[in-house]
């Protein structure tokens, strides 16, 4: 019996509004853009909810009802859940109902969809804890399987997950780490006692996520019949289909037929008696791990490089993120909840993605996802907001000095 493990990612950043020199020290609300553009976070959320979150959730709920053997997983960033609660509460209700069936697994991640693991372990832990608490509050479950921002993964993260008792962790099934092995087995990080590694089958995942509507692709048009054949022909124990939730209705618009495809897919695959839908936890429970996969560097699911260069590939990105994490001790010392929250929202990986200057095929993807005119504009906006954050820190520190306390605790 071969598992089909479908996991969908839901995330929406808080984009920084148009922000400049004359706002520093005067306007601390970086994320409340209210113009009619894509820097208006509420506007974006409502739009995506209309196009993707809600119709896809209704469809998934219907599929769970129709097929008792249908299972899948979702991971939400904490800030996506916050925004859904505020502007599309119906989506939260739909997911709560689906979790109650026991056939939707919620995965763990950082609350702010950040790259904190690579910059501050203590901040990373705090964000994971905050995320776990939110998932527990909303869905009454505790994540047992972890996935880090943008599927970023390295041995040290595997060790961390093992120490924290996670059953598994997800990563990209990228050829250079597999050395000729198939992604379609359960693996383990080096030295892991408990945590298993599930690797994305990027070919079959991207056939849906990226290529579904591409007429230049020889697989077009993709039908469930064709896809079912490909799935049946795959070797191994599990085919891990990891992709953005917004593939359905947002990256692939409704008129591409993506919803019809999703609606028909479970039925099609379930016709094949050797295939079974499984959540990540079930895949790990059902299949013996085959081998160790050693990832001393960092892999992600982004771009053709599959590394962190989409977020940390140029000087602008390093300057921005380096400055941001350099403020950690000072931010913590203020005990100012709003300041801490803003600092954390600025950690969301999307801000750095917008600053990416790789302009090959990947650049198109970056431009598609960026609400800013250029990576430089994105950087400039971010740095001005960050200067305001530092300005606020200074206000705290000067007040402490005036009160005769040490500037840093």
């Amino acid at each position: 019996m071969k598992s089909v493990c479908l996991y969908l990612q839901i995330h929406q950043p808080y984009r920084v509004k148009r922000y400049g020199l004359f706002d520093i020290g005067r306007d601390h609300a970086y994320f409340d853009g209210n113009e009619e553009n894509d820097l208006n976070n509420r506007r974006v959320l409502r739009k995506v909810a209309e196009k993707s979150y809600l119709p896809t959730a209704r469809l998934l709920a219907k599929l769970l009802k129709r097929h008792q053997a249908f299972r899948f997983a979702v991971s939400f960033s904490g800030i996506a859940l916050e925004q859904l609660e505020q502007d599309a509460p119906e989506a939260i209700t739909l997911f709560q109902d689906m979790v109650r069936t026991g056939r939707l697994e919620i995965l763990g991640e950082t609350y702010y969809h950040s790259l904190a693991f690579f910059f501050s372990r203590q901040e990373f832990e705090r964000q994971v804890r905050k995320h776990t608490e939110l998932v527990e509050r909303l869905f009454g479950v505790t994540p047992r399987v972890f996935r880090n921002t943008e599927l970023s993964y390295t041995n040290a993260l595997g060790s961390w997950a093992d120490e924290r008792g996670y059953l598994g962790i997800l990563a990209e099934g990228w050829d250079p780490i597999l050395h000729g092995r198939s992604p379609n087995y359960v693996y383990r990080p080096p030295g892991s006692r408990r945590t298993k590694l599930l690797l994305k089958n990027y070919r079959l995942s991207d056939d849906i996520a990226f290529r579904f509507s591409s007429r230049e692709w020889e697989g077009w048009p993709l039908t469930t019949g064709k896809y079912g054949q490909w799935m049946g022909a795959e070797g191994g124990d599990t085919v891990n289909l990891f992709m953005d939730y917004e593939t359905f209705g947002e990256h692939q618009w409704e008129d591409t037929g993506i919803f019809h495809f999703l609606e028909a897919l479970p039925g099609e695959l379930l016709q094949n008696p050797s295939l079974a839908f499984m959540t990540p936890s079930l895949v790990i429970a059902m299949h013996q791990d085959r081998d160790t996969v050693d990832v001393p560097g960092v892999t992600t699911w982004a771009d053709t490089d599959r590394d962190l260069t989409a977020w940390l590939g140029n000087e602008l990105q390093h300057a921005a993120i380096g400055t941001l994490y350099g403020l950690e001790d000072r931010v913590q010392a203020t005990n100012d909840e709003q300041l801490l929250e803003d600092w954390r929202r600025l950690q969301t990986s999307d801000h750095f993605y917008y600053m990416c200057t790789k302009w090959a095929a990947d650049g198109d993807v970056h431009a598609y996802f960026s609400p800013y005119g250029t990576p430089y504009e994105a950087h400039n906006t971010f740095m001005h907001a960050l200067k305001d954050l530092e300005w606020r820190l200074r206000q705290h520190e000067r007040a402490r000095v005036r009160a005769g306390e040490p500037a840093l605790v």
Binding site: F22, A319, K387
Partner: protein, 449 residues
């Protein structure tokens, strides 16, 4: 030890004397202001046909500012100005007749060619028309030729005693006018191709147009002695035909202030930040990369300093990456192109203004900063350095010295105050009215009685 100190004191006193004498000599050369001349009204009227390229608010740089300042000043000096612009701008000013070279019946035939030349390099502040679209396309040389072709017709139509052309863009039109009316021609050099390219790759077409214009002229007006030297050395103009007229500044050409605006940048200062300002086009000529190199040195010594780079240009992205790569990405802010009160506020809030130009014919920006009460550091390679001897002068390439001078001004309120105290006196002598008087004098020499 005490003897050495004594010698030092003597040297110091002597240098004060030299500076004072130089200042005196420099200012003595300038004519007294207009109001003090009882017979100014009795002068004959002169009719000047002036060919320009841009005029505020439709300007992208100093050329337009100078055109406005000089035109208005000439009007006060009993010159009736007809100011020609190559395109139709919705402009009207009380002190000059504005006309356009865009008459349908002029029938200027110009073959448009592809040319890489763009006015003032590439920038976000192209001269925009009322429809918000750039007025001049990418093919600048063709625009210049079309303008030149219209020059003769305009000269036949507009009565005048003297022809005046601002910079190479208008030299062709001025020369054509002269060939039609045989009136004397003045070529005003605001910048040369060597300045614009930072002494890099000079465009031969532009150089040839500049050179022909200067040689056709009866008099070449240079904006500084530095530029006069270039006109003589690089364009081979007879020194006896070259005059120097410094640029100026006054209420109308300085960045427009809004007295009711809140002091927005005060918040930064209240938080203990010090601001070092650069304001100019972000092109090789203006030396913004040298500013960053100096900034690195200052930033290391003082955690409270912010560097603000105002402006746009073809080096913007390079400079942002450079700042990040030098490890001062968090210390340098790029607010983009600012104008009017925003620009004034940047000047007024800055603790130090730096103009590190590689090759600057004059450089009005330091005067704007001085007007806003800010101490200035100017590169020795700029013409304005001749006119503001009390300013701090450094070589553009000496980032170590530039950093040292910035640091000194930042840490010493006395040093800042000492420079600022001299601003008013220096600025009072650098007015457009004075420049206009000087040009009126040149016109009197050229136009037969």
């Amino acid at each position: 030890m005490s003897f050495a100190f004594f010698i030092y004191l003597i040297a110091l006193l002597f240098s004060f004397f030299v500076v004072g004498a130089t200042l005196g000599a420099v200012f003595a050369k300038q004519p007294a202001s207009l109001d003090q001349r009882p017979f100014a009204r009795a002068r004959r009227k002169l009719r000047a046909l002036i060919f320009g390229w841009e005029f505020p608010p439709f300007n992208s740089g100093g050329l337009g500012v100078a055109s406005l300042g000089l035109t208005r000043a000439l009007a006060k000096s009993d010159v009736d100005v007809t100011f020609v612009l190559p395109k139709r701008f919705p402009l009207s000013v009380p002190y000059a007749k504005m006309i356009t070279a865009e008459y349908e019946d002029i029938g200027a035939q110009v073959r448009y060619i592809d040319s890489p030349i763009v006015p003032y390099a590439i920038e976000g502040s192209y001269i925009l028309g009322p429809d918000g679209k750039p007025i001049y396309g990418g093919d600048l040389v063709s625009e210049v030729r079309r303008y030149a072709a219209a020059g003769a017709k305009i000269a036949e139509r507009e009565p005048h005693d003297i022809i005046y052309a601002h910079d190479w863009l208008s030299f062709g039109a001025g020369s054509a006018a002269k060939s039609a009316s045989y009136k004397p021609l003045v070529a005003h050099v605001h910048a040369t191709e060597f300045d614009r390219t930072g002494n890099g790759s000079v465009n031969q077409v532009v150089y040839d147009i500049e050179r022909a214009g200067m040689h056709n002229a009866d008099c070449v007006v240079a904006v500084s002695h530095r530029t006069k030297g270039m006109v003589i050395d690089r364009y081979g103009v007879n020194p006896s035909r070259v005059r120097v007229v410094w640029n100026g500044i006054d209420d109308e050409t300085a960045p427009r202030r809004n007295p009711h605006a809140a002091a927005r940048l005060a918040a930064l200062k209240q938080a203990g930040y010090k601001i070092v300002l650069f304001a100019g086009r972000l092109t090789i000529q203006k030396g913004p990369d040298h500013f960053l190199r100096a900034a690195v040195r200052v930033a290391k010594r003082d955690p409270d300093v912010l560097f603000v780079i105002v402006g746009s240009g073809d080096m913007t992205h390079q400079l942002m990456r450079m700042a990040a790569g030098l490890g001062i990405g968090d210390r340098v802010l790029f607010p983009g192109f600012l104008r009017d009160h925003d620009l004034h506020e940047a000047y007024a809030t800055a603790d130090v203004f730096v103009m590190p130009s590689i090759s600057e014919p004059f450089g009005i920006a330091p005067l704007e900063a001085m007007r806003a009460g800010t101490p200035v550091i100017i590169s020795r390679q700029s013409g304005v350095a001749e006119a503001v001897p009390h300013a701090t002068i450094v070589d553009f390439w000496d980032d170590q010295a530039m950093a040292a001078r910035i640091h000194e001004l930042l840490v010493s309120p006395q040093l800042r105050a000492a420079q600022i105290a001299k601003h008013a006196a220096v600025l009072s002598l650098l007015t457009w009215d004075r420049a206009g008087e000087k040009i009126r004098g040149i016109m009197d020499e050229l136009v037969p009685a």
